[in-house]
């Protein structure tokens, strides 16, 4: 009986199984053919494509619990919301692996390539569980799975002091944050007697006023989410780790892991506190905890701190780290509305932000390959020495600022629409002012690229593959800025969560 339900669930976790098998395949391949490490990325890519195929096949499936049985009432679910984030994660992972192939930094660790790809696969697996979990303990384990892999990956370049330091800071910070979260989970467990979101929902729904203990527990749990999506005041690790980690991993953390964190946070808030939905698409949440208030404070803090701290950065990677904090703030501002419109904005924003941020990090990586530096002063005049990259970087930065005709504008437009729809003018003004501040430091890079005279005369040529990869990331940024209908349709479809 129980066993049967388990076996019946296996076809529902095809993608997860594929990723797990891929992990084993990478390990075994690495052990069996230690000389052929150059095939590892392609093996991983193949696996990711297979997993992607299996994920796409799931699209038509009814949403539902997986491993529904006895006490636990199902640990993970299949629904469109998870489907969207799984595809996003797979796409980002694919690009990151392509980035890794062209990274000079990682060439120094070539003999450990097997471990590198294993750990990336581990992160994918963890994030898959993160985006589809409806159980507190699965949530904790999946976050830890992602974190453990990323701790090692952040400190992957052992010989580099920066990278090692990043690894240490990341693990101490991450372990504390997840420990605090676990304590929060234990309190929720004690209060409700279950770890399942839906069953917690049954209990929480009936609260008519904020419950002190639950609020305490949820704030403790929120520390874990805040750390994962690098929301202020839990963001402190972000700049240091982003600067120190290999650029590929920085890009990965800033998009995929953040996306998984957001997916988890959204699901957590929506499922646990959901009591109904009004005719305008606004969620009526349980009074047990005032999410709206907390999220507004956090989002305003996040975008402000991210943008203002970025003003002073001279290391482009660190600047992008702060800018990614600011972007998390914008997305939190959309979540603040606690509406379907806000959710749509987040989903759209993630696609846009993912593309743009990955592209920017990739160009930073390529420039680092050539010049060995990430300092903004070393970018002087590069726009003329590498015309295509210069133009691509400019487009990407314009998109990060959120100006038309780039995709970034569409992302921000939807954030604004969701905020104005509420309407919540103060927040809209704050978001707008923050965008203005962000313009300054993005334009600063463009200024260094084009207006400052180069210190050294040099010509850069890039292999065609790298050029194509840059174009693959840049052209959609323009296209999505002009034609975003499908993005929107996809976003709308992706909002459907199991149980709603």
């Amino acid at each position: 009986m129980v066993i049967n339900t388990i076996f019946n669930s296996f076809h529902l976790i095809g993608p997860e199984i594929a990723v797990a098998l891929l992990l084993l395949a990478v390990v075994i391949f690495d052990l069996a053919f230690p000389k052929n490490k150059k095939f590892l990325p392609w093996l991983t890519i193949t696996g990711i494509i297979v997993a992607g195929f299996l994920t796409v096949k799931q699209y038509s499936l009814e949403s539902g619990f997986v491993f529904e049985s006895g006490n636990t009432q199902g640990l993970i679910v299949i629904d469109n919301f998870a489907f969207f984030f799984k595809l996003l994660i797979l796409g980002v992972s694919l690009l990151i692996i392509l980035f890794s192939v062209s990274s000079e930094e990682l060439k120094n660790c070539y003999d450990r390539a097997g471990e590198y790809y294993t750990l990336i696969t581990g992160m994918i697996l963890g994030m898959f569980f993160m985006v589809s979990t409806v159980d507190l303990i699965t949530l904790y384990i999946s976050i830890e799975l992602v974190s453990f892999s990323s701790y090692v990956l952040a400190g992957f370049i052992k010989k580099s002091k920066r990278s090692s330091e990043a690894g240490l800071k990341y693990i101490i910070y991450g372990a504390v944050a997840s420990g605090i979260m676990l304590f929060g989970i234990s309190l929720v467990f004690g209060y409700t007697g279950t770890t399942n979101f839906y069953q917690i929902n049954h209990i929480v729904v009936h609260s008519l006023s904020p419950d002190f203990l639950l609020s305490l527990a949820f704030i403790l749990i929120f520390v874990g989410f805040g750390y994962k999506i690098s929301a202020v005041p839990f963001h402190f690790w972000t700049p240091d780790v982003y600067e120190g980690a290999p650029t590929t991993i920085t890009a990965y953390l800033s998009v995929a892991s953040k996306a998984a964190g957001f997916a988890l946070l959204i699901r957590f808030v929506k499922i646990i506190f959901f009591t109904g939905i009004d005719e305008n698409g606004y969620w009526i949440l349980s009074k047990a905890f005032n999410w709206s208030y907390l999220l507004i404070i956090i989002s305003v803090l996040t975008m402000t701190v991210g943008n203002f701290a970025a003003l002073w950065q001279n290391n482009v990677k660190r600047m992008l780290a702060y800018s990614s904090i600011a972007h998390a703030g914008y997305m939190l501002a959309a979540l603040t509305m606690l509406s379907e419109q806000g959710l749509l904005a987040i989903v759209v924003y993630f696609v846009v932000y993912g593309l743009t941020n990955l592209g920017a990090f990739y160009i930073v990586l390529l420039i680092h390959n050539k010049t060995g530096s990430e300092e903004i002063d070393d970018y002087d005049g590069l726009g003329y020495q590498m015309p295509l990259m210069g133009v691509a970087m400019t487009i990407l930065l314009v998109s990060l600022t959120g100006l038309p005709p780039t995709a970034g504008f569409i992302g921000k437009l939807y954030v604004f629409i969701s905020i104005l729809d509420a309407p919540h003018y103060t927040l809209a003004v704050i978001v707008a002012l923050n965008s203005v501040v962000s313009l300054y430091y993005y334009v600063r890079i463009i200024k260094h690229l084009y207006l400052n005279n180069p210190k050294v005369e040099r010509e850069f040529t890039f292999p065609v593959t790298q050029t194509i990869l840059v174009l693959v990331l840049t052209i959609p940024v323009i296209i999505l800025g002009l034609y975003f209908g499908p993005l929107l349709e996809m976003g709308k479809v992706s909002l459907r969560m199991f149980g709603f």
Partner: protein, 163 residues
């Protein structure tokens, strides 16, 4: 009798933990940590969680603690007589943590828990834990296996000597 045991174990746990966080000598701290874990295992036994208590002893005392001792040994020059650690802003943290602990504990003990009269069945929980692991939590059980593999690979990758 139960009360007495509880207080004994609680005292062992908290006092040794307190010693851990206050002593300057890392080696002392590690040995004191052993006592803490032992005390926690005792508390588990008092709660009727025999299997977890055993696991606590095996994993923590047998695994983590040994790891930590190795860590201490490998990261300090063995020749130095005392392996000491300095501390940072003790007083402000003590105040902060005091407030935090006060708030936390006050909230916890005044909360409306769904308690029932304690009626601990001291028969073994191994069977039911095993059954639960292989049915309800089977997917997590597998996931933990993968997690262990990743840990192994990751830790070895970072710690192993470069050629």
């Amino acid at each position: 009798m139960y009360d007495v045991f509880f207080y004994i174990f609680a005292a062992i746990t908290i006092l040794s933990a307190f010693f851990v966080v206050t002593t300057k000598n890392v080696i002392y701290a590690v040995y004191s940590l052993l006592l803490t874990f032992f005390g926690i295992a005792g508390i588990y036994v008092l709660l009727g969680a025999d299997f977890i208590a055993i696991v606590q002893i095996i994993v923590y005392v047998g695994g983590i603690l040994i790891l930590m001792i190795f860590g201490v040994m490998l990261t300090n020059k063995i020749t130095s007589v005392e392996i000491k650690t300095q501390t940072l802003f003790v007083i402000p943290t003590a105040i902060g943590v005091g407030i935090f602990a006060g708030v936390l504990i006050a909230r916890m003990i005044t909360a409306n828990w769904r308690t029932m009269p304690l009626n601990i069945d001291y028969s073994t929980t191994v069977y039911s834990i095993g059954a639960s692991l292989l049915s309800d939590y089977s997917v997590l059980f597998i996931l933990l296996g993968i997690l262990l593999l990743i840990t192994l690979i990751g830790a070895a990758s970072i710690a192993r000597k470069e050629d």
